[in-house]
Point group: C2
Chain length 136, copies 2
Amino acid sequence: MLSKKTKYGLKALTFLASQKGRAPVQISEIAKHENISQKFLESILLTLRKTGILGSKKGKGGGYYLIKDPKDIPMTTVMRVLEGPIAMVPCVSLNFYEKCEDCPDEASCSVHKLMLQVRDSTLEVFKNNTLADLVP
Amino acid sequence: MLSKKTKYGLKALTFLASQKGRAPVQISEIAKHENISQKFLESILLTLRKTGILGSKKGKGGGYYLIKDPKDIPMTTVMRVLEGPIAMVPCVSLNFYEKCEDCPDEASCSVHKLMLQVRDSTLEVFKNNTLADLVP
DNA sequence: TTATTACCCTATCGATTTAATAGAGTAAGC
DNA sequence: GCTTACTCTATTAAATCGATAGGGTAATAA
């Protein structure tokens, strides 16, 4: 299940990508346009800024803006920042790998085998989509 | 994230599929072999029985067994029973569809567009795998 | 310089879900 | 008729999620 955090983050990013220029957009404007709780959105945009996807400008006329061109922002990056691991189990995760404590042998684990395929196919989708592809 | 319920369920099913015959296997044996809490496993096997994937036999020499041949049990069925919707958002779910209350227009929603692709590719994996494919 | 604007951060909270446990009930077989 | 093993209900602790509140701080315009 996709978290609201990710959902809202994607919507906000798409909204920013759809802007004419790269001028800062206020949180309140994004929140209003996308029907998102403003305070909740604040925390989401903050993490997006900390990971280098967004920039921000304080004071009058300030707000958030995209640092890079939307077509140079792959969905793999965005999803990992917002949702975390793309894999459904840690033992098949590329960036967040963890060994299962049950499960003596990974190579002969049926769950592992299946989830590896799911991860690869999902990854393929995220690799083939940039933020620019999400703009209607 | 895959729930433990699904993980345990898949392991139990794979174990049953790997048996020589179709003789009932006791819960305790499955639990021991797969390192699963027996009581928790009980409830999982129960739902698998109620949905027609497993059969059970009471009394001495009883236990759970597969009703169909493993190669006739697609992963789509198993995953939907254990994990629920395959889609990451209800608005792109085939079997558990729900409209988003925020989001005025589904067709122009960026999240919808992306998650539709993820659903299709994941579905493809589950369609191409039966329980028989999981047995090592 | 000063007031304003808007970002930044911490803490909290209720609701929900998850994983696990306990215990009693019931049906089948020897 | 007694044992075995499945069946069901209830409870619980822990974790996570979504949201809210409130204050702090930095940058900009006037």
